[in-house]
């Protein structure tokens, strides 16, 4: 299949998600289930990644700032801005593309191969709306929250690492953290989070939903979904930075 075949089918899948639910209560239940899977299920890995990325960025920034003319509080400023602008939204979402994306692709792929999707279709259920839409909405709701958590923990991790390694004092870090803060940076991080949330949920859903074959194909679809999502995240990251910064 060519790129245009895939893209056309992807757009048709997205269009197919927008129909009136057969039963609102069941869709709500599915949405809550997905929020739990995507949000709570990924919290642990997001916390670990954010803490270490913040810590490492403090150590590396300090390592690169060799001049005594630059105040140490600058380290906190650099850590804050890199965490908010790049690390919290982009790195977190790349990790989520692996965790959530592979889960979505393999779950839908398994349902397709074992005819569970056909069984739902036969019952008269719009499977695109029932299986994919709750995942996309759950990603929209939970991924920005995870990005905010990652941002806060990243900065806190950086502060802790700076203090524990004796690079700078808590007062120096806090002073740097509060100086020259641009509010739009936080808004930009959230814009990225929403864009990436759509990519992380819809692309793996596409590869899982249309899988053909058996266990091997489910594995391949899962890998393709994660790789494509990561590339699309990096591409969107560049486009958003070029357009909005």
């Amino acid at each position: 299949m060519t790129f245009f075949n895939h893209f056309g089918r992807y757009l048709l899948m997205i269009k197919g998600m927008f129909t009136k639910p057969e039963n609102w209560r069941m869709y709500w239940k599915e949405l809550m289930h997905q929020c739990n899977d995507i949000g709570v299920g990924s919290l642990g890995i997001v916390v670990i990644v954010a803490l270490f990325i913040g810590a490492v960025s403090t150590l590396q920034t300090a390592y690169q700032l060799v001049s005594n003319l630059i105040p140490k509080s600058t380290i906190a400023q650099i850590v804050r801005d890199t965490v908010i602008l790049e690390f919290a939204p982009t790195i977190t979402c790349i990790v989520l593309a692996g965790v959530v994306g592979s889960k979505i692709a393999s779950e839908l792929g398994n349902m397709r191969v074992s005819e569970q999707i056909d069984a739902l279709e036969i019952m008269g259920i719009n499977t695109k709306a029932y299986l994919i839409m709750p995942k996309v909405i759950a990603a929209f709701l939970m991924i920005p929250v995870l990005v905010v958590i990652a941002g806060v923990l990243g900065i806190w991790g950086g502060r802790t690492a700076g203090i524990l390694s004796g690079i700078l004092s808590p007062e120096e870090f806090d002073g740097g953290l509060l100086s020259g803060f641009i509010q739009f940076n936080a808004a930009f991080a959230l814009i990225k989070a929403y864009t990436f949330a759509f990519i992380i949920s819809s692309i793996p859903a596409y590869f899982g939903y249309y899988v053909k074959g058996g266990a091997l194909e489910i594995g391949k679809a899962s890998t393709t979904a994660v790789v494509t999502s990561c590339i699309m995240i990096l591409f969107a990251d560049y486009i958003l930075a070029a357009l909005l910064l």
């Binding site: 069941m26 398994n110 056909d118 279709e121 036969i122 019952m123 008269g124």
Partner: protein
């Protein structure tokens, strides 16, 4: 009743279903038989809309399924139950939740009413004490029975079964066959069973269609099939020497009786 008129399905340049016309009557087990690759599953999937046929019509009690809008199809599909080859149970749900799913989705019954209905159908398929088990914890035969229970929980008018006996031992196959036959008669459903199990054929074949290379080769019932002179059908049904001998003996006995 389901009427199929000139149904045709092509994949690439391969004609999988070629101009099939048939009538599936209510209250009867309509069996579609044929060798692997003869187009049985594609035929079944065309009837329920999982594949779109290239031409032809499928009438459900006079309403053309092929020409229907999505909403109409959705409505009709609530009258269709289907048992899949691999049962297609939802892995993350218990037996009870699987059977309750259509009730949750399409009815406004209270939980107590739904539970009562679920227990009724599970009882009907002789499955007790399995409500809280997951599909991975039950046997193949039990899965099929759960599949039947889920298919009939909304009292459908049409029941489709895709190779209900695959992977089952002869005794369990017989139980599943009888169950399908009983529910067909009991609820006056139009049942279409896709099979290549010879026991099913003899046991429940009220109406049989033999497919050969995507075409309807023969039509009859389980009494007529024994005496059929269709060579392709006989080669398929009486493939083993043992069965061939059995058929010849039966034919000879029948001829003697006529004399």
């Amino acid at each position: 009743m389901i009427e199929i008129k000139n149904l045709r399905k092509v994949f690439g340049d391969k004609v999988v279903i070629n101009d099939v016309t048939a009538t599936m009557e209510a209250g009867k087990a309509n069996l579609i038989i044929g060798a692997s690759g003869s187009g049985k599953t594609v035929f079944l999937k065309c009837l329920v809309g999982l594949f779109e046929p290239d031409s032809g019509h499928v009438f459900y009690n006079g309403r053309d399924f092929i020409e229907m809008e999505d909403d109409e199809r959705k409505e009709l599909r609530q009258q269709i139950g289907m048992l899949f080859q691999g049962s297609a149970l939802f892995d993350s749900q218990t037996v009870e939740q699987n059977v309750m799913f259509p009730l949750d989705m399409f009815t406004h019954m209270t939980h107590t009413e739904k539970l009562k209905r679920v227990n009724e159908v599970l009882d009907r398929v002789n499955l007790k004490d399995a409500n809280h088990k997951f599909p991975a914890e039950i046997s193949g035969g039990m899965k099929k029975r759960v599949g039947i229970a889920r298919a009939i929980v909304l009292n459908p008018k049409y029941l489709f079964c895709d190779e209900p006996n695959s992977g089952l031992d002869p005794q369990t196959s017989l139980v599943i066959d009888k169950l399908i036959h009983e529910v067909t008669k009991e609820f006056n459903m139009t049942t279409i069973v896709n099979t290549h199990d010879m026991n099913s054929l003899m046991e429940i074949g009220d109406h049989i269609i033999y497919m050969y290379h995507g075409e309807k080769e023969w039509e009859g019932n389980n009494k007529e099939i024994i005496y059929s002179k269709n060579e392709k059908l006989n080669n398929f049904i009486f493939a083993s020497e043992f069965l061939k001998d059995a058929k010849e003996k039966r034919m000879m006995e029948a001829e003697k009786n006529i004399e």
